[in-house]
């Protein structure tokens, strides 16, 4: 065979195969084309097998041409498969029609006995009930925050060493050139509250918080509850009383030992860390002689008030913040933080609470 004839023969083979592919209307027909071309006894396969009989001087050129053809056909065959599959899906989706305007079934597929409230949601309900009884309202704010709300307004300027303790997640800079952050604490809601309402203020802020830290005891997303009280004559004594009242009610231990230690936060002064008494060995709260750090608190720093336009000569108050997972784990003796976010149905059923018993002071919890 001359080279020209050979080329013509391969071109014809290509055209025929492409035509057959185009004509294959479903995957069955497509598969027949594939097998007939590239299968064990397919046409291209046969030609490749025949290479051995070609004279050595022509073999190289012929082999290259055949391989090129094979690659081209493989591509075409695969493209046709994708097209046919997507057409089949389209056809299936077009055929699968449901009149979604029909009224739904009268009953849910499951009942209250199957459902469960997540321990974090439950703790937030309990917090709300207890602080609600002390006259607190619940405030909320966005997860994605401006730098000023999360840091600047809270007396944490750019260079402040405390910024390094907050492993902050950043989003790309906006038009103002500043990078939004995923709030590292619920404290920015203090700022939003003080800017949007006049004192006296008495709010708690349960919500999601974020830090770039991930190990057995740290999750990149977790929950805090913030508290803020602003009034004319609120003192550190009230802060202590409020926290003691809360902790004893939440853990349901009337004589839970509570200890206050001096500390530092840029947004409070004086600042305190709060410990509760427990037995480290058994993990029992209110027993033993060990102390467990549980939250941070303090009198709102005059700069924070002034940053929000509140005159610290007239108004003063306190703020606190605690980890919701932490108090939940302590209350229920849970050892591991990570399952909180994994939505393992076995864990949710085990630690969840039934939906028909809302947290209320009337019913107790």
């Amino acid at each position: 065979m001359s080279e020209a004839t050979e080329a013509a023969e391969l071109a014809a083979l290509r055209q025929e195969t492409e035509a057959a592919l185009a004509a294959a209307a479903d995957l069955r027909a497509w598969d027949a084309v594939r097998v007939g071309t590239l299968g064990k006894s397919g046409r291209v396969t046969a030609l490749l097998k025949g290479l051995g009989a070609v004279p050595a001087e022509a073999r190289k050129a012929r082999g290259a041409a055949l391989n090129r053809l094979k690659t081209e056909l493989e591509t075409a065959i695969e493209a046709r498969r994708v097209a046919l599959e997507s057409a089949a899906l389209e056809a299936r989706l077009a055929a699968e029609r449901l009149d979604v305007s029909l009224p739904p079934r009268p009953n849910a597929p499951g009942t209250a006995a199957d459902g469960a409230i997540h321990p974090i949601s439950r703790t937030v309900e309990e917090l709300t009930a207890i602080f609600g009884a002390m006259g607190f309202a619940v405030a909320e704010g966005p997860d994605i925050e401006g730098d000023w709300y999360n840091f600047g307004a809270l007396n944490i300027p750019e260079h402040h060493p405390a910024r390094q303790d907050h492993d902050t997640f950043y989003l790309p800079a906006g038009p103002d050139g500043r990078r939004p952050v995923l709030r590292t604490h619920t404290s920015p809601v203090q700022i939003r509250t003080m800017l949007s309402q006049e004192p006296p203020i008495r709010v708690i802020v349960p919500g999601r918080t974020w830090r770039a830290d991930h190990d057995a005891t740290h999750s990149p997303m977790f929950h805090q509850v913030e508290g803020l009280v602003i009034d004319r004559d609120i003192t550190l004594g009230h802060l202590k009383g409020c926290l003691i009242d809360f902790l004893r009610a939440f853990f349901a231990i009337a004589d839970l030992p509570v200890r206050f230690r001096a500390s530092y936060f840029p947004f409070t002064e004086p600042s305190m860390e709060v410990d509760i008494g427990w037995d480290r060995k058994s993990g029992e709260l209110g027993k033993g002689s060990d102390w467990l750090e549980i939250l941070g608190s303090g009198m709102v720093h005059p700069r924070v008030l002034a940053n929000c336009g509140i005159d610290p000569r007239v108004w003063q108050g306190f703020a606190f913040g605690m980890g919701i997972e932490r108090i939940t784990m302590l209350k229920h003796g849970m050892a591991d933080l990570r399952p909180f976010y994994e939505s393992d149905v076995r864990w949710l059923r085990h630690y969840g609470t039934g939906p028909l018993a809302p947290a209320s002071l009337a019913e107790g919890f």
């Binding site: 899906l89 699968e96 979604v100 305007s101 009224p103 739904p104 849910a108 597929p109 006995a113 459902g115 997540h118 949601s121 709300t128 002390m134 006259g135 607190f136 309202a137 997860d143 994605i144 007396n155 402040h160 060493p161 950043y170 989003l171 790309p172 906006g174 939004p180 800017l195 999601r208 830290d213 991930h214 990149p220 997303m221 003192t235 550190l236 004594g237 202590k240 009383g241 409020c242 230690r261 001096a262 500390s263 840029p266 002064e269 004086p270 720093h301 005059p302 700069r303 002034a306 940053n307 336009g309 005159d311 610290p312 000569r313 909180f340 939505s343 949710l348 059923r349 939906p355 809302p358």
Partner: protein, 835 residues
Amino acid sequence: MKFTLSWLREHLDTDATLEAITTTLSAIGLEVEGVEDRGRALAPFRIAAVVEAEPHPNADRLRALKVDAGNGTLLSVVCGAPNARAGMKGVLGLPGTYVPGSDITLKVGEIRGVKSEGMMCSARELGLGEDHAGIIELPEDAPVGAGYAEWAGLDDPVIEISVTPNRGDALSVRGVARDLAAAGLGTLRPEGRYLRPGTVPAGGPSALRWAIDDPRACAWVLGRTISGLRNGPSPQWLRDRLTAIGLRPINALVDVTNFFTVDLGRPLHVFDARKVKGGTLTIRLGREGETLLALNGKEYTASPEDSVIADASGVVSFSGIMGGETTGCDADTTEVFIECALFDPVRIALSGRRHQLSSDARQRFERGIDPALQPAALEAATRMVLELCGGEASEVVSAGAEPAWQREATLRFERLAGLGGAEVPEYEATAILGSLGFTETARGEGSVTYAVPSWRNDIAQGNVAPEAQPGGLAQSPELPPERAAAAAEGCRAVEAECDLVEEVLRIRGLDRVPPVSLPVASPVPPASLTAKQARAALARRVLTARGMLDCVSYGFVEARVAALFGDTPPALRVENPIAADLDQMRPTPLASLALAAARNAARGFPDLALAELGGGYRDPSPTGQLAIAAGLRTGHTPRHWAEPSRALDAMDAKGDALAVLQALGVPMAALTVTTDAPGHYHPGRSGVLRQGPKTVLARFGELHPSVLAALDLPGPAVGFEVFLDAVPEPKRRKRGAADLPAFQPVRRDLAFLVDAGVPAEKLLRAASGAERNLLAGVSLFDRYAGDKLPEGKVSLALEITLQPRERSLTDAEIEAAIGKVVAAVTKATGATLRG
């Protein structure tokens, strides 16, 4: 920060117990992270002399020793150490003693026929190092019978405290001692080991001089040369002390700087004067491209924001952070130049962060160091170098000047109760402040004014010139100017006082502030949730009551997954994700639920119902972050004798969404369904629930098969999303009187044949609107599509309820009303009544 008890006692004259000290430290804000008391484990070990060392009769490598432990009898000890010999002194463990390095308790034994009444120990066995080549050899003058730990100074507990960012002064043993003294645990000694009044007699001129090129780089610097010295290893006490707190002894000159960093919180740097090029060290800002090979062996490129110290050849030190290799001091150093400088805390903090370079010096400079201590610290360092290395000190050279750090702070005594809630006697408050170093400058009616000590840069920060005030106020730009000004003035008026109140309460003990329950404005508090918050709580209850499990998931997911459920704008891409699969803020919690369902299915739980109330993100603005109640059901209903299991379908998801909306008070009659749900839903089996043409309240449906395939989620999977922010606040209306007619309702069934494409809702709406006076209810109770019907038609059967009010209805009236219903349905939908 770590220090040893004996080091503390150099500054604090006290007989307080270790426990009293650590408890007090934690209470006053210097939280104790740990106490390492090596002496306790080593207490039973005694110094003993080997009197006799004979080869063991039955073992070549062992020796039978006779050991004198000072109690009058010789003990028989078998020992395998090659260096065990008569006349040496070592460390003996007696039977019953726990050996910390080998985790065994000794007992009387017999080794190949020879009694062994104790063990001569190696360093490793005592947990004091890796040396196990032989037993510890003590000098000849070691007192036989004495406790080894005490003799060797190992009974000195190491205390580690965590120092908060405001307390640069407490990053020093002296600062810690001062706080403890104020808290009543002894008295602060007037002098330190090398810190005392007076100056070292100075010799000739210094070989090096200072120049400050730019005051931003350094405010004030002192230095001096000490020449003709011998730099070798430090004495044992210093090496022990540094080792105890985790620092590696290098050589005397370097150890001196480390000593003062911890002792006085005063970082120093030592240059080998002979290695410095030219006669001047210049402190200036960095220049583009300049590099420094730092003492940690790494090379750094300076930026124009860094403060650097340069000689004629270039940068030789990063100010306040780390010195350079080329001018460092080593065993050959004979002439040292000591740097004692004051750098800007903010500049040091930012430089350190820029270069990710940490050091004990940086830690102190960025918190601020005592500016007034500068000359005394240089003198103390000089004394120490002369004592350790000999040599002759030059004059002191300097550049810049002591900055004005002086501030005052006034305390009105009533604020201790007014802010702090504690009745503190005046004398007690002034005694505390006095012992912290505050000096009274004025006494007023009920108030006292103090000069703030130079080491407390955290006190009265607002009472200095604004340019010297890092941070300052950061007021919201949206405040009305008068309000902002009044608040700023108020802050200036009370801030320093708050600082003083904190100092008094902190040192006096916060436990002594009596707790007071919050006064409540009303014994019956107002609702704590807003209507919107109450809706979210209700939505959670509704969904869990329908058998769903309430989930909490991360708000970010893998970008690929997020893209399956909506837009993934770059503005919502996390710049520094902790993992590549947590880098995109999710468009909806449904994405997280789908991932969770796939994980559960892989664990063998394919039939489940999950719900989450959480954020779905459109853009980073507060309004772009939506509160969404999402739910997902997968698989089949449970198997049960009374109700066969079936695959879940879009109607289940619609039921969930409607249940939420209904509970939230949305009028059901006002809802319409459209079929334009977004791409993560099956286009033919999904819907959007709207109130009016614009407001989308929810969407629901089967998940798109390509979403299932991409997540490896076995179907069927049906989900919904309720947009809680879009749900209007329910109107609070008084209910009118109940309508309780005396006559029985009349019910009629009507079956219509209608084109399959006509939504059932259209039929229901037409029927409901047909006869307002009598019609009390319309429900769809049957739907039939099959081969008994003409092609393309379905049968929909309605139950019509008529409610007579005045009297019973006649057949004719019933027929007339039903006739109206049929006519309305036919007109609206083209349906025909089936015979």
